[in-house]
């Protein structure tokens, strides 16, 4: 158990329980649900105000979508351009086909640098490749430097949101974690004081650890530049103080030109945290004499992205700029938070990205973890039609299941196949309605409603009544009316 009373949720899609199952303990956790709803409401309100004040918001979205699609259509060319420019500016560029290779490359760089510890800026990509446990088990101490990440690292908790990863943890829980791990028994739970404690704790690390690992929000092909967007300043610390900087970035992160940032920087902060601009955005190009790291390494990660690129409908998944607006808008995420998704990428984007990165061998329940309401698509700054991709993935997962014997045990599967058989003929359909009506009478109470159904019907009636079947269907009424008219 962690300080938040959670069983240690598994964020490895290969081992995580299916979404309906994973959601259950979360749904029964009032504190987590309250924290999630509270966080979401704040961000959504701020975002809403800023979007309303921007009269070219839709045009920005269109431009961003077009630029990202263009990049994906020409990804090879832009990656090669980035690589050439980055190298010319003094950086080293490596290509990793998968998570294992990326980890090995990073460890090799650390060995070369004789680095036994690193300071780290939060990056989802490093969580995706499970970098921290790998480095730790190879004798490298990893110091997370984002406040949320420290909370999670010291508290041994998994993240539950892309942008506000510790939103499921409240202040007294943070106080408890810091008091214990930073040796500050007298610490109060005032967020101001907790933040100051973290500032002091980290200062020492920033000034003394010569190697940093971070991610990238954008790679600029035209210049070989890298942009990192942040709020706390730990990014700036890690990007300028150490001697060696390693940047891990998914291959889809590239933008064509420096000027394209004028679109994305307007969209990102408003979508992610409801600000016009986040406090600090940093851009650097290779190494610069006398300013910042002497050695700069970029590890470009594929890990399934080139495969996603192949698929015409699903390719848009890669347009994502990791703003988390989709999960802030998602009514499902509001109830479950991130842990239920069993992946470092939760929410609507996680529901489409995670199964694809797993080549649909795992996380097959995630495309179904949605009511298809479309709120995510409405807020996505790069116009990813998430519902469209969800439906495509549902089709692929169902086709997978057709070949499996377990489908004969799945009542919903059998029921839908049978329903299709009925719908193919109005006579069959009408007969089934008549039989169903008779059967329903057996479970209909005196008030005319069904309060309890067995098996899969029980999934409905566990929280909802169902009105009993009327004595006459519409088509029967119509046929009778016609007869009477004659």
């Amino acid at each position: 158990m962690t300080p938040t009373g959670q069983p240690h949720a598994e964020l490895d899609p290969r081992f995580a329980p299916p979404f309906p199952q994973a959601a259950l303990p979360v749904l029964r956790n009032p504190q987590l649900r309250k924290n999630v709803a509270h966080a979401i409401d704040i961000i959504q309100a701020k975002r809403g105000r800023l979007v309303d004040e921007k009269d070219d918001w839709q045009q920005l979205r269109s431009a961003a979508s077009a630029i990202r699609s263009h990049v994906l259509e020409n990804l090879g060319a832009y990656l090669e351009e980035f690589e050439a420019r980055c190298i010319a500016a003094g950086g080293h560029v490596y290509w990793a086909t998968d998570a294992e290779e990326a980890r090995r490359i990073i460890l090799e760089i650390l060995r070369q640098e004789q680095a036994s510890e690193v300071i780290k800026i939060k990056t989802m990509t490093s969580a995706e490749i499970q970098l921290n446990p790998y480095l730790e088990s190879n004798g490298v101490r990893v110091h997370e430097t984002d406040l949320a990440e420290i909370i999670l690292q010291l508290g041994e908790e998994p993240p539950s949101h892309i942008v506000v990863p510790a939103l499921h943890v409240n202040r007294s829980q943070v106080r408890e974690i810091f008091a214990r791990k930073m040796g500050l028994p007298e610490l109060s739970d005032d967020p101001q004081i907790l933040t100051a404690a973290a500032r002091n704790y980290l200062r020492e690390k920033f000034l003394n650890v010569p190697t940093a690992i971070g991610g990238a929000n954008f790679l600029i092909a035209e210049t070989g530049g890298v942009a990192v967007v942040e709020s706390e300043g730990n990014g700036r610390m890690c990007l300028t103080l150490p001697r060696t900087l390693i940047t891990l970035a998914g291959i889809e992160k590239v933008l064509p030109r420096f000027d394209d940032l004028e679109v994305f920087l307007q969209l990102l902060a408003r979508s992610a945290t409801g600000e016009r601009m986040n406090p600090y955005t940093s851009l650097w190009t290779g190494t610069v004499k006398g300013d910042g790291p002497e050695r700069f390494h970029v590890v470009l990660l594929d890990n399934g992205r080139s495969r996603i690129l192949r698929r015409p409908v699903e390719r848009q998944t890669l347009k994502c700029i990791r703003c988390a607006a989709c999960m802030n808008a998602c009514p499902v995420y509001r109830q479950t938070g991130g842990h239920a998704y069993g992946s470092v990428y939760p929410g609507p984007i996680g529901a489409i990205l995670t199964p694809q990165l797993q080549q649909l061998h795992h996380a097959q329940s995630l495309p179904f973890a949605s009511s298809l309401c479309g709120a995510c698509y409405e807020v996505c700054p790069v116009r990813i039609n998430i519902p469209e991709v969800l439906l495509e993935l549902r089709s692929q997962v169902t086709n997978q299941e057709r070949g499996q014997t377990k489908r004969f045990l799945d009542l919903l599967y059998l029921g839908l196949r049978f329903a299709n058989f009925l719908f193919a003929s109005s006579r069959r359909f009408h007969l089934a309605q008549r039989i169903g009506r008779i059967g329903a009478r057996l479970v209909t109470r005196k008030d005319g409603w069904i309060h309890s159904l067995p098996s899969i019907g029980g999934k409905w009636t566990q929280t909802r009544d169902l009105r009993g079947l009327p004595d006459e269907t519409f088509h029967e009424w119509w046929a009778n009316r016609k007869k009477e008219a004659q």
Binding site: A66, L75, I105, T195, L241, S282, L283, L309
Partner: protein
């Protein structure tokens, strides 16, 4: 690292196999890029004065100090601003005009200052490259008058001199005015902040917790 050169080929081959295999004449990528639709606002709507007032408003919103002056009165305004901090030890980039380094303060001019010395400075005085009114953003390109990046990162107070002519209203206008992409950029829009504890916004995690902007109206 030769080990990854085969991975490089694997990845690029996988990418090329999926993306359009149309004949690539020289410049076609550029043409496609130029054809991308951009109907968002490329220019602002406010006149210079309104822009400056907007910048001041935004800076005030996030708690930055702002003092207005003229280019002639700049050294005095700087001295007054520095005095108001109550601090004495200030860092400064090497190429700042010497009359900006007001007397009565302990100046640490950055001619390869050791990190420890910068860490012990109580504040830093710099110029800026630009400012964006709409978001209250100060932009540093870390040129000779702005100093290397850690100079504006370690000290707790940042006094920043801005000329009115450096202010644009919108982000796209900032990009329009960059003749070529800078090697280093830091966009600062408020003190560092976190909302990671119960979404309570706390200002000042890392980096200067106080920003004072001196705006010299050089119309």
């Amino acid at each position: 690292m030769t080990a990854t050169s085969s991975s490089r080929e694997t990845i690029l081959a996988a990418i090329r196999a999926t993306t359009a295999a149309t004949a690539k004449q020289a410049g076609w990528l550029d043409e496609a890029y130029q054809g991308l639709p951009r109907t968002y606002n490329r220019i602002g709507r406010l006149d210079r004065d309104a822009s400056l007032n907007l910048l001041i408003e935004r800076l005030r919103e996030y708690g930055a100090g702002i003092a207005e002056t003229t280019p002639e009165a700049l050294p005095d305004a700087i001295a007054a601003q520095l005095a108001s901090t109550g601090k004495r030890r200030f860092a400064a980039p090497a190429a700042l005009p010497s009359n900006w380094l007001a007397p009565g303060f302990e100046w640490r001019v950055d001619n390869d200052l050791p990190t420890g010395e910068i860490e012990h400075c109580e504040g830093v005085l710099t110029a800026a490259a630009a400012a964006i009114a709409d978001s209250g953003t100060i932009v540093l390109h870390h040129g000779p008058q702005e100093g290397r990046r850690l100079l504006t990162l370690l000290p707790d107070i940042h006094v920043c001199v801005l000329l009115a002519s450096q202010v644009v209203e919108t982000l796209p206008e900032y990009f329009r005015q960059c003749i070529s992409p800078p090697e280093l950029v830091t966009w600062i829009s408020g003190p560092s902040a976190t909302a990671d504890i119960e979404m309570t916004r706390i200002k000042g995690v890392h980096g200067p917790r106080t920003l004072h902007v001196i705006l010299a109206r050089d119309n």
